[in-house]
């Protein structure tokens, strides 16, 4: 039977390499895969493009990646109170692609759903429209927004079963659920791991087809 549980953090992030694109779930601390973040740091990987809502604030969140100069580019919506990132941004060491929060997650959804993008009214007539194709539908202007995909997606789950089915804790679902669909390798750290059948099928948020590795953490 399928069993995607890995023995340790190193195995959870094995294969991550320089220049890859990595999605990191979480909104603030909710859903942030702190154990996986640390495991990636320990690989010594460099030159990552990160897709995440925030850019970390302090301690063992994404700020640790900026402090270690792991990131070349971040695609995110709200890099506020992010000291390490801000310092590198001011020096021009890291590139920022700023995306409205709902557009960010929908671009990820498009990537995961095999869509070539979507038409979005958000940002029309603002700086967020720069460089984007404008298409009118039913008399309303929309921007053509392109999909986002990644080599790895790292998320934090509450429960996982050994097949890879997941649920999340409270508002920790945020970008995590959609990110699991859009990466070549999706890794979830989970607080609890149970046997197949122990999770209510009605309450599984992420079906196991999207999940490649589970780490108990």
């Amino acid at each position: 039977m399928r069993n995607v549980v890995v023995p340790d953090a190193a195995a959870a992030v094995a294969g991550i390499s320089d220049g890859m694109t990595v999605m990191v779930g979480g909104f603030g601390g909710a859903g942030l895969p702190r154990v996986l973040l640390k495991a990636v740091l320990e690989t010594g990987v460099r030159g990552l493009t990160v897709i995440s809502n925030n850019a970390g604030t302090s301690g063992d969140d994404l700020s640790s990646w900026f402090e270690a100069h792991v990131v070349d580019k971040i695609i995110c919506s709200y890099p506020r109170s992010a000291e390490a990132f801000t310092e590198q941004y001011r020096r021009g060491d890291v590139e920022l692609e700023l995306v409205p929060q709902g557009t960010l997650v929908e671009r990820i959804r498009a990537g995961g759903a095999g869509l070539g993008g979507f038409l979005c009214p958000v940002g029309v007539g603002t700086d967020f429209a720069k460089g984007k194709e404008v298409i009118e539908v039913e008399g309303r202007k929309h921007l053509l927004e392109l999909p986002l995909k990644a080599d790895f997606a790292l998320v934090r789950a509450r429960d996982a079963d050994t097949l890879g089915n997941l649920n999340f804790n409270k508002t920790a679902r945020n970008h995590c659920a959609v990110m699991t669909t859009a990466a070549r390798v999706t890794v979830a750290e989970a607080a609890r791991i149970v046997k197949p059948g122990a999770m209510d099928p009605e309450a599984i948020v992420t079906p196991c087809i999207f999940v490649n590795r589970i780490l108990k953490a």
Binding site: R90, V124, T171
Partner: protein
């Protein structure tokens, strides 16, 4: 004249929210509206990080870092609350399911343009937008809640926004510490003002042209419109 306190302004906004409406409160001052709501209004609060039926702040020691609002403050859930992912959350906005979003603003123009995400000052700091643009475009009605002028006394209600726009022509109502304004096709209409304020005094603090509603009402110091 005494401008409304922040609490009174929050109460004025809360009192105007339709009963049983779905409402998103932007981060910052608008979150104060939550405390001013009467439970009998049946308003259901949405938080764009994935929660409907947001409850009040938890008691000290009861905080859960996985249960937060869009401002990343710990919250609680009310009976009937639900959690969902960000894609579904922003579907609620862009899909027109949120009845009212109450947002802070740096500037609002007479055409209802909103500038609330970036002052446009290039001090080298990275820009951050979060869900501001999505909310401004998606909610059925956008209400702005702000101080009438900047700390230096400069108008925030302007002919044309000079700061980077959040969205074009979206603001329906403006609640300030001096007045309540409706944005109409014919311009900005003042529905109510605080006591002892003349329209010409209000106009002097406002760059955009104001007209008074036929039945101009008064806002008392508790934020109650009479």
């Amino acid at each position: 004249m005494t401008p409304l306190s922040r609490n009174a302004l929050a109460r004025m906004v809360a009192n105007h929210l339709p009963s049983e409406s779905f409402v998103n409160l932007g981060i910052g001052a608008p979150t104060m509206v939550a405390n001013a709501l009467d439970a009998s209004q049946g308003v259901i609060l949405h938080s764009e990080n994935g929660l409907l039926n947001v409850g009040p702040a938890p008691a000290e020691g009861e905080e859960n870092h996985d249960l937060i609002n869009a401002g990343k403050q710990p919250v609680t859930t009310l009976p009937g609350a639900s959690f969902f992912d960000s894609s579904l959350s922003f579907s609620m906005m862009r899909g027109g399911h949120i009845d009212v979003a109450v947002l802070g603003a740096f500037q609002v123009s007479e055409d209802g343009d909103l500038a609330n995400w970036n002052t446009g000052r290039d001090d080298g700091a990275p820009p951050a937008v979060g869900g501001a643009v999505d909310l401004a475009v998606g909610a059925s009605q956008i209400w702005v809640m702000m101080e009438h002028t900047t700390r230096d006394g400069a108008p925030r209600i302007v002919s044309r926004c000079t700061m980077p726009l959040t969205a074009v022509g979206v603001v329906r109502r403006i609640f300030t510490n001096l007045c309540l304004i409706t944005v109409t096709d014919a311009g900005l209409v003042v529905d109510a003002m605080i006591d002892d304020l003349e329209l010409k005094d209000l106009q002097a603090l406002t760059e955009a042209t104001l007209t008074a509603a036929p039945a101009l009402r008064t806002i008392n110091s508790d934020g109650i419109v009479t």
